[in-house]
Amino acid sequence: MVLEVQDRAAPQSDPIAAAVKLRPRVLEGSEQRFGPSDPDPNLDLLQRPRIARLVRNRKFQFLLILPNQIVFWTVIFVGLLGTAIPGLNFGAAITWYVWFCLVFVMMVVVGRAWCAMCPFGGFAEWIQRRTLWQRTQKALGLGRKFPEPLARLGFILPVGTFLLLTWIEEFFNIAGPGNPAATSFMVIGIVVTALAFFLVFERRTFCRYICPLTSLIGTVGSMGTVAGFRTKDRDVCLNCKTKDCMRGGEQGFGCPWYTWPASADSNLYCGLCSECYKSCPEGNVGLFLQKPFTSVVAPRRRRADIAWAIALLWGLVLYQQINATNFFGVIDNWLNTELHFPHYPNPVDYLGMIGVLALATAGVGWMIAKIFARRDLELDRPGAFADRSSRFRAFFVPFAYGLIPIVGADYFARQLPKFLQHAPRVVPAVAHIFGASSSHSAIYNFSLATNGWIVVVQVVVVALGTLAAAWSMWKISGRELASISTSRLGVRLTTLAVVLGSGTVAALLYVIMHAAD
């Protein structure tokens, strides 16, 4: 049988395109879903050609990392080989008097600025990619996926590593700072661990799931004014057929942080590496600024693991305040005697106190849920760990997000004494590398503030954080808790009162610490 003329098929220039019949993409609802957290289009820094040219350059991140790389390799060598006097050893001085404080300033102002220039991840990534800046196709290492059960823990794992590192740091008095070599060993430990993870797992698995700082930077960084790399036009991204920003394109790698600019509603996982901007074939990615606290208040994608991380981090910083009181010394000594543990801090009271404080935070959330949850509140799905599909999580998770500014402020205040008392020592520490200074120099013994003023500054910082938290909590509770509560005003006032009470406790603890000191 011969086909009829009308059946004759015309040849096609792109037969693959003709055969591909993708199911329609879901486009509806994206505006409603992302509208509140989308940055102002006018705040795209890459609208400025010079910045765009700089960021598009493949050497951009390399040049951010390089100075820190030099500094931290110097830290390692000087810490091991230099003087044992901490204040005169560049390794100890730069790390504990300046660096930690600067990281906090960067995270509060920018977000993950440190991650963009981090020498630990940066060094490991150079080796993983087998290049300092070029776009390579083959990665070194096994490229494994991070085990799913661990990935499901989200931020809990890096909080765990942060607690571990903090305990090690306290145990060996690294950040005191004590013996400068200890600082070197700590940095070497982080570099080696990062390198091992980069060689075993794909992309920045270490930075996302393991790095001790990632939970702190991720949560506190959400106060920052940089929204990160985001889509300019979401429909373009939704209809994109290649997703080069995720998979990697001609000019850039796929997002090392597993973030898609089109669905990011906070700066939580934007490492500011600019790879998505470089790889986007449509030029649809911008680097946006945002109002402070936008990434605390606006996101609709809230996660229980992050809420628990906030509670644990809050517990840790409170523990660090309490352990400077006379009361804690009594408990710690008693525990050490009973448990035959030779050294401060005793892991039982360390973890126990942090756990109790975190549970207390969660308990407040549970109480608020118990008091205010509407009886007809129905949640759509059974909950897994990161889910909020329970009455408790429905209240606790947004409530914990509202505490971020106060937690961040408390951490910052905690770092201030070392900076204000000893930051000038970096100058003689640098000079000492060349054998040109001693601990008797005037600048070595110069402080930026007296102890009394330091406490004042700490209290002011906590007060500002409390005010920011109060504003954030008011917004969050109004948007997310009021509608599921029996009393809209009641739940808002209650959460506000908790914030103010928490701020007061934190501020008072600084005063008590000072008295104890």
Binding site: L3, R8, Q12, S13, V20, R23, E28, P49, E148, R300
Partner: protein, 747 residues
């Protein structure tokens, strides 16, 4: 609101799919590709939602998720594949009846068609060198509409009956089937295609009543020539085919025995083409020196020479009597085993003795060098001639180049295949070959050459040696066809649409015999796209002449692609008043490499100006410009920013240099060049010009724009004025390579 996880729902008998909610970015790549709608979107949380009840375990989602956020566990839910057993004749000698069976009617065909998932992004289509719409034609089979199925296949193939018999489906469409990529058994796509072709014969070319007056000469009447001739004759072109053999068909005719490809099937395309008006001139051998004359006679010439030169192994004794090549053997065997042939007489002419294996003794031993498909054809033909056949190949059997089913069939027919051995010498006995000396080899990886061991040589008494290691293109055409053969290798980042489909994500499945089907398919795409571009003015090359020895389906697909390119370009021979199309606008492609946006802006301004004069203009960054885009343009304008430090190291941007270096042969295509600079362009334009001219392009204009010409306040914005100049030249018909614009650009 928060996001949600789902727990594993996989059982021993049912797959389960889960979303790793922490990492799911809600990009919907899995959702739009899931064939069973087991994945949907949760728009409130903007993550994918998984429904394990609908999951069949094909793992498309796992392969396509950019962030590895989908987990599928458990077995695949797919029915067993229907694979008819080969029909081996009871008595092999002199029997060339077809071995491979098709489906035994509709019941089997429908059952197999039901195994197809109808994937939304069908990787099998990418795996098929011709890009047949496989889900489309299988769906038509399901509906009982074979006419519709044939219509769909005809869009991309004119050799469905041949390809369905001779293609190595395991390394192509079936290897790229979702089931195969998931580690299971793929749909029998080849047999379904054959079912369509056998039940609904391929219709002849439709010859339009209007004539385009386009005259095209095709050199070679193989599958590539057939594909090209078919498209051209259906478009109303006048087609003349020059074939050196007396019978058309090329390798399909003389190289593939009847028991694999029956004569009635292999001759079908050319019967239909000649009936449709193709001027077939058999017995006409074209030499490289004849190309100029043919280009004077035709508006375009398509070279489809094939690879007809058999490879020979040069070892001591290879010039002895009784050592022949595969072409000689296969052509002779075809004639001897065909109607009116004399198998015993031909064997005697070769100096070997034919015996009937049923009589308990074997005939003379034929040593076949190689164990690829050609070698299998030689050995199996030898068995039908009553000869004892032994194949030796220096590859490991794991990396054998033959179809796995063909190897099994050959062994069932009594062919002895010895891998990891290579011939080192042939020794004489009574003035002709009598003994072969073989060395042992080792091979640990497919991409590594085997090592030849010095010790442990084997000796084999032989009566005839056939060198069947493959073919190569006639080396006389090397100079006439510059930059060929093209390597089928993707340099740099592969097409992201291919990556998105997931075909590159899966490791080689066992069904595909360990072949990385995605990488192979992407490499074939380089050949296919290259076929669209002429190697010199009005001269296209396709098939084995373009890419070296390859497959029937690739040659056919490239033939079609080249024919479409000829029809699109409408070239005209000197002095001809026909051919050149005046009824469509000039198609201009403006492509650029921009860093800060200035070059992109200049490209847009230039394009805007060209559009004013009626040109059809596309503006693309160079990373989006490939062979297909170049082939579909009459004029290509290329712009770059200038890299370098002030005046040191000034040259085209690195990405532009890489792009220029990776361009294929451009065969007289017209280019215009521009660059944007801050201080001085220095040698930027000349460097680009040299790179393009080395590829055969013709540079018709060039310009360099400094800050003054690019300023928004400039009285005559440089790029726009350059566009006006290009438009003016088009109207005037000028194509000189003089510089235009705003700064003198040295040649």
């Amino acid at each position: 609101m928060t996001i949600s996880d789902t727990m594993s729902a996989a059982t021993m008998t049912h797959p389960g799919v889960r979303i790793l909610a922490d990492r799911c970015a809600g990009c919907e790549e899995c959702v739009v590709r899931c064939p069973t709608q087991a994945l949907t979107m949760d728009t409130e949380h903007w993550v994918a939602l998984a429904n394990s009840d609908l999951c069949v375990g094909c793992r498309q989602c796992v392969r396509t998720c950019p962030f590895s956020a989908v987990v599928v566990e458990g077995p695949a839910l797919v029915a067993p594949r229907i694979d008819p057993e080969p029909i081996h004749p009871a008595r092999l000698r002199n029997d060339v009846s077809e071995i491979r069976a098709g489906f035994d009617g509709w019941v089997e065909a429908l059952s197999e068609a039901e195994r197809c998932l109808q994937c939304p992004d069908p990787t099998c289509v990418r795996g098929c060198p011709a890009h047949n719409d496989i889900p489309g034609f299988i769906n038509k089979i399901r509906q009982g509409d074979l006419t519709g199925a044939q219509t769909i296949l005809r869009r991309t193939s004119v050799l469905t009956d041949i390809c369905s018999r001779v293609c190595n489906h395991a390394a192509q469409c079936e290897g790229a089937c979702s089931w195969s990529l998931a580690g299971d058994v793929p749909v029998a796509i080849g047999r379904l295609e054959r079912f369509v072709a056998d039940t609904q014969p391929v219709p002849p070319p439709f010859v339009p009543s209007t004539d385009t007056n386009l005259s095209v000469g095709i050199i070679g009447a193989g599958p590539g020539g057939a594909g090209a001739a078919w498209e051209l004759v259906e478009a109303g072109a006048s087609v003349t085919v020059y074939e050196k053999d007396p019978t058309p068909g090329g390798l399909c005719h003389w190289g593939i025995p009847d028991f694999t490809l029956p004569e009635a099937v292999s001759s079908r395309p050319w019967r239909q083409l000649v009936d449709a008006g193709v001027d077939l001139r058999s017995g006409v051998e074209v030499s490289p020196g004849d190309l100029e004359e043919l280009l004077g006679r035709h508006d375009a010439v398509i070279v489809a020479l094939g690879a007809s030169q058999p490879m020979r192994l040069s070892v001591p004794g290879s010039d002895l009597g009784g050592v022949i090549d595969a072409t000689t053997f296969l052509q002779g065997a075809k004639a001897a085993l065909g109607d009116g042939g004399d198998p015993e007489g031909w064997c005697s002419a070769l100096g070997v003795e034919s015996q009937d294996v049923r009589h308990g003794r074997f005939g003379s031993r034929v040593l076949v060098l190689g164990a690829g498909n050609t070698a299998m054809d030689v050995a199996r033909s030898a068995r039908r001639l009553g000869l004892d056949a032994t194949c030796v190949d220096w590859l490991d059997e794991r990396f054998a180049l033959t179809r796995p089913d063909e190897l099994d069939e050959a062994r069932q027919e009594g062919v002895e295949v010895r891998f990891l051995r290579t011939l080192v010498a042939l020794h004489a006995k009574d003035d002709r070959v009598g003994r072969a000396e073989l060395a042992l080899t080792t091979q640990d990886r497919a991409d590594r050459r085997p090592n030849v061991l010095a010790k442990g040589h084997e000796f084999l008494d032989v009566d005839l040696v056939v060198m069947a290691m493959g073919y190569r293109r006639d080396p006389a055409f090397t100079d006439a066809l510059p930059d060929t053969p093209v390597r089928r290798v993707v340099v740099g980042v592969p097409d992201r649409r291919w990556t998105a489909s997931g075909i590159l994500a899966a490791p080689a499945s066992s069904y595909a015999d360990g072949n990385p089907v995605g990488t192979l398919a992407l490499g074939r795409e380089v050949g296919l796209e290259s076929a669209a571009l002429p190697v010199t003015d009005r001269l296209w090359v396709i098939g084995d002449a373009l890419i070296g020895p390859a497959t029937v389906v690739e040659a056919m697909a490239q033939g079609r692609r080249a024919a479409l390119a000829v029809l699109d370009a409408r070239p005209a021979r000197p002095g001809s008043t026909t051919g050149e199309s005046a009824d469509r606008p000039r198609r201009v492609l403006v492509c650029y490499e921009s860093l800060g946006g200035k070059t992109a802006k200049a490209a847009e301004a230039l394009a805007d100006r060209l559009s004013v004069d009626g040109d059809e203009v596309r503006v693309l960054p160079i990373r989006k410009v490939g062979r297909t885009e170049l082939a579909a343009s009459d004029l290509v304008v290329v712009g770059t920013w200038v890299e370098g430090l002030l005046v040191a190291g000034v040259r085209p941007a690195k990405a532009m240099r890489a792009w220029l270096a990776g361009l294929p042969r451009l065969g007289g295509k017209q280019f215009a060049l521009f660059c944007t600079y801050a201080l001085a362009p220095k040698g930027t334009i000349p460097a680009m010009r040299r790179a393009l001219e080395a590829k055969g392009a013709v540079v018709v204009a060039q310009a360099a724009f400094g800050p003054r010409e690019l300023a928004d306040t400039a009285a005559a914005f440089g790029p726009a004025a350059f566009g006006q100049e290009l438009a003016h030249r088009a109207r005037a018909g000028a194509s000189s390579g003089a510089s235009v614009g705003y700064r003198t650009v040295p040649r």
